[in-house]
């Protein structure tokens, strides 16, 4: 979707302001929210791509105004409501509705390290050989799907060169909509800054993006 999250190339967001000796958390609730997100039970079939898509669907004014872990709050609440695990009244009150079911399958503290070490593997076998070879020129397709995609607007329609082949990876555009992992070959594609931003950009510099095969066509 052409959302507020797709920020590459925008002006007007101001200076970066790195914080010296930045603490891990700026308030205790940030730590709790990170822990809740990692530890809570999500609806069946929920996945990281759906998490990112729900974040993109935040109203743009809230996306810009609220901090990172507050985004996670919004995503977790939206996921819980969407999956029917909680009701709006429960979110508002902070308490379970009288007589509502209580589950007993939440991840336990002693399972957390195992989860940290074993989760998050997104490589998958793809039977078809890769369509593109390292060094080949490709064009990122000009597509504007209303759903989730990982092809940023700034690269659409631009010509680049295949830099790396990462093998088969889960395809976010289908996975975010719980339409299957539909793995595809994934490539790092290098685009000249002048191709992306025009003649005023540096003639030496490049931006490399990881792009799935169906985002690309031969150029």
């Amino acid at each position: 979707m052409n959302g507020i999250h797709d920020m590459g190339g925008m002006h007007g967001h101001g200076p970066i302001h790195p914080e010296a000796d930045e603490p891990l958390w700026h308030a205790p609730w940030e730590a709790r929210m990170l822990g809740i997100t990692r530890a809570m039970t999500f609806p069946k079939g929920f996945n990281i791509d759906r998490f990112r898509h729900l974040r993109e669907l935040m109203p743009p004014h809230l996306y810009l105004a609220r901090g990172y872990y507050d985004h996670w709050y919004s995503v977790c609440v939206a996921a819980l409501l969407d999956g029917g695990l909680v009701t709006r009244d429960e979110i508002k009150s902070g308490h379970a509705a009288p007589g509502s079911a209580r589950r007993n399958d939440a991840a336990r503290g002693d399972q957390v390290w195992q989860s940290q070490k074993s989760q998050g593997i997104f490589t998958r076998k793809v039977e078809e050989p890769p369509l593109f070879a390292i060094g080949q020129r490709v064009r990122a397709r000009n597509i504007n799907p209303a759903g989730h995609t990982r092809l940023p607007r700034y690269a659409r329609g631009k010509v680049g060169v295949i830099q790396l082949h990462h093998g088969g990876h889960v395809f976010p555009d289908t996975n975010a909509h719980q339409q299957g992992e539909a793995p595809q070959h994934l490539y790092a594609v290098a685009f000249a800054m002048r191709e992306l931003w025009g003649p005023d950009a540096s003639q030496r510099d490049e931006a490399c993006l990881d792009l799935w095969e169906s985002y690309l066509e031969p150029a």
């Binding site: 970066i16 990692r38 399972q111 940290q116 989760q119 990462h166």
Partner: protein, 216 residues
Amino acid sequence: MNPHEHGHEHHHEGDLAHHHDIHSELPSDPALRVKALESLLTEKGLVDPAAIDAWIEIYESRIGPRNGAKVIAKAWTDPAYKRRLLSDATKAIGELDFLGRQGQHIVAVENTPETHNLVVCTLCSCYPLSVLGLPPVWYKSAPYRSRAVLDPRGVLKEFGTELPEHVKIRVWDSTAEVRYLVLPERPAGTEKLSEEQLAALVTRDSMIGVAKVKAP
């Protein structure tokens, strides 16, 4: 089938977005909302508070930029390890047991006198958590995400890093589940330092690519 056809249908995007409407009925203070969410989920058996504590503990004491610094110092002192890191970083970092969530597929990119690498995630906040820990606020912020791909030299200047015109900058936009780790240049005058002493010099910012490693 064109895999993007689904984008023209309606996959309850409206319904999903609708769940965000609840914000107009909730307190603006996130501390209150998060506390209420934790109580609710605990009551319903959807979260175990001990698991929340355990995750916080992991990021406070077990996973952080010291992991990445050990990888870099080893690459600086062990040429065979450096070759393995640059050809298959996932495997090489696995040797040190630093793989994990948001860092199971890693590519290491080497800074040299000719090329400087810089990492960003313009679409969200992807970051090599398993080797660098939690990202700093600026990495997740709109100013960095918007300008790192458009004006990397200007961005680097805001971190006090000025590169000569002949150095090529390559910005890595982390649009997939591959995480990029910058192998910074080893500073001159550090020939006599041990691997451990070298690791102490390596900063988080140098492994993102916004700064160089400074000699002691």
